[in-house]
Amino acid sequence: MAIEVRIPTILRTYTGGAKSVEGSGATLDELLLNLDTAHGGLRDRLVDGEKLRRFVNVYLNDASSAAWRPRSRTATR
């Protein structure tokens, strides 16, 4: 099932200017790896080693990761 991923302006250089791209993955970790195959370099802006970079927020259906601070295996659904 395709996941719609909305991209903030400052990261659109990795998506050829696209505001929104599609990806897939059962977890956030899988999704970011998947996105990185089509948009190389995007994942490195978001992830440092195993964790999201400090000050990066990921919103799942508009709920903020600041509240659930995910481990890389958090389910995307």
Partner: protein, 135 residues
């Protein structure tokens, strides 16, 4: 160089004074590529701290989406320091991720006088810039 109207300059200073001794923070949006601060958006300091600021993540999502829908970008990202000089801290620098923005720092450490300075922060490098207040 930051060019900002007196009215917007006053609004930033007022916000900082009102929230003192907590740090105040917010954004001024303008049309993409214009470098012109137009729309004042005071925001919550989710840290509610006299020494740190952080945008509330849901408010940040709402504000940034709204700017995107309006073809605006963050021209000014401001916050205040309440006991130290108006210069970005190491945390402020690592928090800064919008290369086109003018990072404005205000200090309310002196009751009589508010310091107002502006910086570009790109790839962790801070460069102070002059501020022109227009009538």
């Amino acid at each position: 160089m930051l060019s900002i109207s007196r009215a917007l300059h006053e609004k930033i200073v007022e916000h900082a004074r009102k929230d003192h001794p907590d740090e105040a923070c917010g954004v001024i949006a303008g049309p993409v590529g214009s470098d012109e601060p137009v729309r004042f958006i005071p925001m919550q300091n989710a840290e509610r701290s006299p020494t740190f600021y952080r945008f509330d993540s849901l408010e940040q999502l709402r504000v940034w989406r709204e700017m995107d829908d309006n073809d605006e970008e963050a021209v000014v990202i401001y916050h205040s320091h309440t006991a130290t000089q108006a210069y970005p801290s190491r945390t402020d620098i690592s928090y800064a991720s919008e290369p086109q923005a003018h990072y404005v720092l205000v200090s309310t450490r002196d009751e009589a006088q508010t310091e107002f300075r502006s910086y570009r922060i790109v790839d962790g490098e801070v460069t102070e810039e002059p501020v022109t207040v227009t009538e």
